[in-house]
Symmetry: C2
Subunit: 178 residues, 2 copies
Amino acid sequence: MHESLIAVNESTVAGMGRLAGFFGFNEVMGRLYGTLLMHPEPLSLDDLASGLKISKGSVSMNMRSLERWGMAEEVWVRGERKKYYTAVPDLWQVIRNVLNSRERREVQLAIQVLSESVEKLRSAGDELTPEERELAQFYLERIGDLQAFFTVAQLALETVLGSDGALDFDAVTKIEIG
Amino acid sequence: MHESLIAVNESTVAGMGRLAGFFGFNEVMGRLYGTLLMHPEPLSLDDLASGLKISKGSVSMNMRSLERWGMAEEVWVRGERKKYYTAVPDLWQVIRNVLNSRERREVQLAIQVLSESVEKLRSAGDELTPEERELAQFYLERIGDLQAFFTVAQLALETVLGSDGALDFDAVTKIEIG
DNA sequence: CCCTGCGTTCAGAACGTTTTGAATGTTGGG
DNA sequence: CCCAACATTCAAAACGTTCTGAACGCAGGG
């Protein structure tokens, strides 16, 4: 095989590994994805293991993760008993999956916890000494800032997630920070 | 101290730890930031170490990270030899710092590598066998997708970074994915 | 049935990261 | 100068995560 093809393949596979790491996934997952992405035909677990020089066990576990995240799909090859996989090539779709099922919850949880904090501080008002009341006031200001932050983050997330197919950035840019 | 104040403080400190982890930082960094954020007066290294029950060494190193990232600032307290720190409370500013000096480079590098790949494949054209040429074509398609992806990511990043003070989401939403 | 080829699981090893605490600066007061 | 009070550094230990490879399970063919 021509060296340019090899070089391009390798840098893409490595790059997908980095990207996976950035999103908090195992880098091997990214390399598997990259390998599939840069291969016109589906690949078997053994192909992947030997191609990336990693153990069969690791390939098996990481491919199941890739499947669960909608980043790879099983493909049936007639007359073959092996499992074959292809990459889902639409990176935006993949990232929307991830944002939707992971970051979304995180942001919602944060917003909920902050609201509960505000509620706690409000309802504790009577029982507080003057110094404590002052601190509570300070807490409320800081928490207000955090609420503003997470609310914008949530709005941005929903906007990206709401766009199906092509991302409509007109919607994103309408968000304003109070 | 009233339990509500303690509970709110703890959940905020823990939450900032999570957030730090999400952005690929040490969670202790986030907890230090949260502790400072929820304290009206500056705190010394010893205060932080005893408050979070971690070693002085860890506090020292993590506080320097926080300083480098513009998340905390040293404060001079008259008549004191200790170092005192406060949190920079504008989370958007902090995150803009991070995006600007970290993610920005990553995206630019990715885009550069992809361009180089395209160049390699183009200039190798003559030397390729028919099969290799077909594979090169396939590579070019996939790389085109990746380029589109990273270009949108770059545009989105620049938009967020371009906003100073309040994030202008009108700009963000003008981005379109081809 | 048993055998073979394949996928999955999991305990232990390998690895990278973070924490600790003792040693080592550094600074200012006396 | 020397001492005390602090900050910093760094090697070793602790810890969490990932990888491996052997054991196991399962299915289809002979």
